[in-house]
Symmetry: C2
Subunit: 424 residues, 2 copies
């Protein structure tokens, strides 16, 4: 039995945000070396305190069993020695990331009057992270925030309250041996909704809110926040099999985008088929669907060409199934496919499979999404797949950051002007 | 008497936003040449329809006289042949701007599996502009939006309704002779507040809201919008005269920042003096204040060192006077100045005057603002002063764009992936 004590306290949310803000000022002035050393200490401490973390995690698991949580949720909640080791290694990978060099001069120029203008990269300040029952977010988000010179206020889901509290206590213990102030990581221990709500409007102390979780959580934050929000990831992603799609590419892209990890946001939710193409390849498409026992919700033409099609309703076109179900729409042109995506897409990731360069260009230019693909799976919309290292989320909005958000999304710029008495 | 007819209609705001969105899709595909030609046609048409615009403007002026508007407001409302010519020339300057090349590839790389990744600059889509009684914003914002490939929905102040409606009608007439769809410029003709309110939550059709005007307008938008907001410009700017300030630089910077254009957001509102410095230079500072009849609201130490000081209260430290009044705070260190700015500043523009490099670095690093200055006037926080050309506003938030926002602030990116069947 560990004698480790919790350092997360049930204090006023506003006071916590203020403490984070004060800490962020010191943090912003630390060197990359200081920040990296701190992350390595956190990684080591997470490993050495695994026993305490697992013991606290057990409380969340017992609570989950008592409340009949789904196996998927229990799986997300459950920590093991290996998982804690993964958390620690994740932080060690963040240490290796070069970006973003806070203090980097992005551009500089001198006005005719001699005034020197520099655009300098600086941290955002205080990041508010609002998330659901994934304790890994506690570690990942803290690592990315600290690496980029930001303080962080964490509000995790109540289902993981003991696990998250334990992880943050360990992080606090670790920070006491580093140059990063302990207060740079604040954990909202209260599980009532009002506590999260307070974060939404704390513009004086919090610079950005990042909600991570289901559509309802994100919607609540967007609708109620006056603090700027980095909106992340509902993905109703489409794969369009054009009239000129290569059958092998189409089958492997559909298989990968739908079945590799159906529950993630870059998985495909709708297949759009050109009618002539589906007519020629219905057998192979059916074989793919049957291989994975995929539930097909389709329009009338889909029902004519494919077996076992459940009639699709308006809701199906907008649905993020996150399971082995798919909506199927049959069209007669790339334009019709684009119009369907415009109407129902969530501007996340959209793909065309075709050997016709003109249709590919039409699709890539006209579809408005964070990522548009020609002959590849939508699954690549991911920070680590694209080489950004860890990601803080996938932005489906257009301001500040779009698509996978790596460390630069947690920074901003300031103009630094150096003169000799210049006036206008 | 012109026979020109108004084309701005009192139709449903949502329908207008949808029309703008449809138009934005066509606009996004136009070449720079097409967009530039259209802007030149608008410029010429504004000049040739000056009579109509002035005639409509008269209605707003009569209304203003009947309602006893201030001379400052009347001045902002009043159009003349020269002012309309300035609008047209402003558009011609926007045509000359190179940035932002929509379609520009900001970076590209190839993954190990051969998937090619491009980060491409694209327009935001539909810009919602909410502003007060300055008819020039109607022209400036339209020019910047169209040049960057965006449609725009304009909601101007009711005091300028006839002028704005006339200007938009002229723009519509001009667009009919160009490749830009007329619907790309929508004008909300309704003057009721509900109409503006509808824009706040129209996330499906509007990509960004930009409020321009007083603090109350901006606050209303930020508090009520679910559409992402680019927050612009309340500027409570400070000039700190350090212990080691050069007297000549200090006097000319104070004079310029306070008196050149007191009503603009980059004008100074508070002077912070190092006590020892003010003690040595009180006479010259007093002479400056007297020369411009500047009203001084100061703390106790200021009252000891300067004549005619009105005791400052808490409100004075936060006040954006926008007139020949100034708050005066006396401190005994650069740290104390930084703490005062942290507490009361609006993160717009902050300056230190000093010959001491260490104090300058402390100030520039520690003050969190869009622009920080060493030995120069805060008046340079301005798109045209910095060489960006026209600006859509000055951002005082940290996400997406900070400081003067030129054309790039009206664009975003998308990832364009080209593969050969790649899956994860």
């Amino acid at each position: 039995m560990s004698t480790f004590k919790s350092t997360t306290k049930n204090i006023d949310v506003k006071d916590q945000a203020k403490l984070a803000q004060e800490a962020s000022k010191k943090l912003a002035l630390l060197s990359e070396k200081d920040k990296n050393e701190a992350l390595l200490v956190i990684a080591d401490t997470l490993e050495s305190e695994t026993g305490f973390i697992l013991e606290q995690n057990k409380q969340d698991l017992v609570n989950g069993e008592n409340n009949d949580f789904s196996e998927a949720l229990m799986d997300r909640l459950r920590l093991t020695e290996d998982r804690v080791k993964e958390f620690a290694n994740g932080l060690r990978e963040v240490v290796e990331l070069k970006d973003p060099p806070v203090g980097e001069i992005l551009s500089d120029w001198t006005l005719d009057n001699g005034l020197n203008v520099e655009q300098v990269r600086v941290p955002l300040g205080v990041v508010g992270m609002i998330y659901e029952a994934r304790p890994n977010v506690t570690v990942d988000a803290t690592g990315l925030a600290l690496k980029s010179g930001n303080a962080i206020v964490l509000k995790g889901g109540s289902n993981a309250i003991h696990s998250n509290s334990a992880i943050v206590s360990v992080i606090h213990k670790a920070l006491r041996a580093t140059k990063i102030p302990e207060d740079a990581v604040q954990f909202i221990a209260s599980t009532d909704r009002e506590a999260a709500g307070q974060l939404f409007t704390m513009k004086e102390h919090i610079d950005v809110l990042i909600p991570r979780g289901g559509g309802n959580l994100i919607k609540t934050v967007v609708e109620n926040a006056t603090v700027p929000v980095l909106e992340t990831g509902v993905g109703n992603c489409h794969i369009y099999m054009d009239q000129f799609a290569d059958i092998d590419k189409a089958l492997s892209i559909m298989e990968n985008a739908k079945t590799d990890r159906p529950a993630v946001c870059n998985a495909a939710e709708t297949f759009i088929f050109h009618e002539a193409w589906l007519n020629d390849h219905a057998g192979q498409v059916t074989a793919l669907f049957e291989k994975y026992d995929i539930e097909v919700h389709g329009d009338e033409k889909a029902a004519e060409l494919l077996p076992d099609v459940i009639p699709a309703n308006e809701k199906d076109w907008a649905e993020e199934y996150l399971s082995l179900a798919v909506a199927v729409k049959v069209v007669s042109s790339v334009e019709e496919a684009v119009v369907h995506i415009e109407r129902y897409g969530t501007k996340h990731s959209e793909a065309i499979v075709t050997e016709n360069p003109e249709n590919a260009v039409t699709f890539l230019n006209r579809v408005d999404a964070a990522a548009v693909y020609h002959n590849a799976s939508t699954r690549f919309t991911d920070g680590s797949a694209l080489g950004f290292g860890a990601e803080i989320g996938i932005s489906t909005q257009k301001l500040h950051a779009r698509g996978p958000m790596g460390l630069p999304a947690l920074t901003t710029i300031k103009y630094r002007m150096t003169g000799d008495g210049q006036v206008r």
